[in-house]
């Protein structure tokens, strides 16, 4: 029995290792291509000859990466902060408060997950455009258009609700005895317990914001608020791409995501597993 078990374990490990290698190949290729000359990328070489460190300096300086990078960081920070706040506030009543129509509201929120982003793009743009003309501050070419429409996410509300439903009722009873209302219970009891799912939501929102391209291109016309994804796009011209520079830029753009994941890896995995979701 033990032999059979260990054989199974070995096979599983080999399978997972193969999966890992396959999954990391694009990343490895990106990394290697970022050190190549243009000729090597054209010849589809697998390894760079002489390491071209200069690609990074060139990518950074030629497309003013620093400013795009800064924009991306601010946009992502605002979006993560907003999403955490609004999702928490929305998930709590759906998980812990009893009111008429609660399930219907939740179903409606869930139903929005079925609508593809491309379908909502035009209505979102019309809304943002109307707000641009009718609110005290500009939306187009500004951070509000890039962040506010994405601060309420059905998926993150769902994820947090799933977690909050697991919080024992006794805690709420005890809080009530101590005179706490829902708001105090949410921020003093529930919030500290939600660290893992909140970090998960934060991470997912950060990645989504960091990778966004279509929407930022739609609502910005100047580099003032454009994210790093637009800078990467500029390495592809009408008649050809400068793959080596684009990949160097892509590596730079990936660093914050990797750093963030490295910092919260444990909580991220925990958050996903506690919510009952599978990959």
């Amino acid at each position: 029995m033990k032999t059979v078990g260990s054989k199974k374990g070995t096979l599983l490990a080999i399978g997972l290792a193969c999966g890992g290698v396959i999954a990391s190949l694009p990343f490895v290729w990106m990394l290697l291509a970022s050190f190549m000359t243009r000729g090597e990328t054209l010849r589809r070489a697998f390894l760079p000859g002489d390491i071209q460190w200069g690609n990074y300096a060139k990518a950074w300086s030629e497309e003013d990466f620093g400013s795009y990078f800064e924009n991306s960081l601010i946009i992502a920070a605002l979006q993560v902060g907003g999403t955490l706040l609004f999702s928490l506030m929305a998930a709590y009543p759906l998980a812990r408060m009893k009111f008429r129509g609660r399930e219907v509201v939740f179903m409606i929120i869930l139903a929005t997950l079925m609508v593809p982003e491309t379908v909502t793009m035009v209505p979102n743009f019309l809304t943002v455009s109307w707000l641009h003309h009718n609110s005290p501050f500009g939306w187009i070419n500004n951070w509000p258009a890039l962040t506010i429409p994405f601060m309420a996410s059905a998926f993150t509300i769902f994820l947090l609700r799933q977690f909050m439903r697991g919080i024992p009722e006794e805690l709420w009873d005890a809080a009530q005895i101590d005179g706490a209302g829902h708001l105090r219970f949410l921020f003093q009891i529930v919030l500290p317990m939600c660290r893992a799912p909140l970090l998960t939501v934060g991470m997912l929102t950060f990645i989504s914001s960091w990778n966004a391209l279509g929407w930022p291109l739609l609502v910005t016309n100047t580099p003032a608020w454009r994210p790093i994804s637009v800078a990467l796009l500029k390495f592809v011209s009408e008649a050809g791409a400068e793959v080596h520079l684009q990949m160097a830029g892509a590596v730079i753009a990936t660093i914050p995501v990797l750093l963030l994941y490295a910092l919260i890896q444990k909580e991220f995995t925990e958050g996903i597993s506690m919510s009952g979701l599978k990959g």
């Binding site: 243009r38 054209l42 010849r43 035009v122 009718n134 279509g214 291109l217 390495f235 050809g240």
Partner: protein, 444 residues
């Protein structure tokens, strides 16, 4: 807090949020005689110009814009903005048309502009071209290549764009490899082209580092490539205002593609710019692409490490003289205030003037649209003989349809090309394409 009080609070907050009104309302349509419009330097007109150029071309364009901003006597300020690829700009524009957020000047292909025009988003430039105060003199008008100007004219006579440049779809070939195959001239006919593709498959380029892979050609599933092939065989994509894909020329084009791919003498493109990459490293004998890619091909061949002798010519053809697909995005003016529309026109007029044209052509490698510009390019022709060789072919240019629905039809053509490359029955594909394309007429 009572329910009533909290509701009032919410309404008040909403009022503060929405009611203060900081932005300007979208402009409304006013068709005024341009001659009556005044531009005052004390009230400078600001314009937004969306374009697709990046890197070196953008730098050159920004320099020209800065010069216009600094020298125009009306105080017009143009803000040039990179807005992604042609497709991204199209998406932005289509969304902007619904949301009322349009630029003033936009880069658009004729079929895209036709669609914007249908949505009443563009200005008919005839009013400005013919204006006695701001327009073009008869000599200036005659200086524009008439066929280029005509590309931007709709069936009802509206001038919905002004061409700043044009390109031709040309054939690039590896002259060194061709010589190894026993030919000193590029193929004149498509039959010859096919024969050479088979020869290239069997006899790789001697200096290629990938001799196990040798191809005559790489087909890009692009509507413009099909148009090139159809035009060169004496056909057209439109006849009497209807799409004409059900033609002998379309069949021949698709049959050639299917045959060469089946016989492994050619391949379907595996990714963006794959044909250029394979050509640069000597694994593909021919390439058909825009003439504006000349400098990119030059640097790709140099960077590819082989630096072989490559040349350009017209794609093979059926008749006595070649017929080449001539294309290029034009500049259109979006609806705005009379002052902005006039200022946009003045920018277009300045940008397409011979001096600016010559500078733009040298920086971008596009072709000029004015006869007099060519006279200013003598030294450039001497410096870049390949550019001159292609420039001389401009007289044989023929353009793709400028029907409003052509953007959608292009996707159908591309789908058809992929199906044929994968072995689909050509007769069925051609008939379906013709039917589907014509079904789009009147929908846009």
């Amino acid at each position: 807090m009572s329910v009533r009080a909290s509701r009032l609070g919410c309404l008040a907050a909403l009022g503060v949020f929405l009611g203060c009104g900081g932005g300007s309302a979208p402009s409304t349509r006013i068709d005024v005689d341009p001659d009556t419009v005044e531009l005052h330097t004390t009230q400078p007109v600001e314009l937004t110009f969306w374009y697709q150029h990046s890197r070196q071309r953008e730098e050159a364009l920004q320099e020209l814009i800065a010069e216009f901003n600094g020298t125009n006597e009306h105080g017009i300020r143009v803000q040039g903005e990179y807005s992604g690829s042609y497709g991204d700009i199209y998406n932005k524009m289509m969304t902007g048309l619904q949301g009322g957020a349009l630029p003033n000047v936009i880069v658009a292909y004729q079929n895209q502009a036709a669609l914007y025009h249908e949505a009443e988003g563009l200005v008919d430039l005839n009013r400005y071209i013919n204006s006695s105060r701001w327009g073009l003199t008869p000599a200036q008008r005659a200086d524009y290549v008439a066929s280029f100007i005509d590309q931007d004219r709709t069936a009802d006579g509206a001038q919905i764009g002004l061409p700043p440049n044009r390109s031709l779809e040309i054939m690039y070939y590896n002259a060194e490899w061709l010589a190894e195959l026993g030919y000193d001239k590029p193929p004149h006919t498509w039959a010859e082209f096919m024969r050479l593709c088979y020869l290239a498959r069997d006899q790789p380029f001697s200096r290629s580092a990938h001799k196990e892979r040798s191809l005559g050609f790489i087909f890009d599933w692009d509507a413009s490539r099909l148009a090139t092939s159809v035009f060169s065989r004496g056909g057209d994509l439109v006849q009497d205002g209807r799409y004409h894909f059900d033609s002998e020329q379309t069949r021949q084009s698709l049959e050639m593609m299917q045959q060469l791919i089946t016989d492994k003498a050619a391949e379907l493109m595996s990714g963006a710019y794959a044909d250029q990459e394979e050509f640069a490293v000597g694994t593909s004998l021919f390439m058909i692409r825009s003439s504006s890619g000349l400098p990119f091909v030059r640097s790709a061949v140099e960077d590819g490490g082989l630096s072989f002798d490559w040349q350009v010519t017209a794609p093979p053809h059926a008749g006595d003289h070649p017929v080449l697909n001539v294309y290029g995005a034009s500049l259109s003016v979006c609806r705005a205030t009379p002052e902005q529309e006039l200022a946009s026109w003045l920018f277009l007029k300045w940008f397409t003037a011979p001096q600016q044209q010559a500078r733009w052509v040298k920086a971008s490698n596009y072709f000029p649209v004015r006869h007099s510009t060519a006279r200013e390019l003598k030294s450039y022709f001497e410096e870049f003989p390949r550019y001159k060789a292609v420039f001389d072919l401009l007289q044989y240019g023929k353009s793709e349809p400028n029907l409003a629905g052509y953007q959608v039809v292009r996707k159908k053509v591309e789908q058809a090309m992929v199906e044929v490359a994968q072995g689909a029955d050509i007769e069925q594909v051609v008939r379906k394409l013709d039917r589907d394309a014509n079904a789009t007429l009147g929908q846009y």
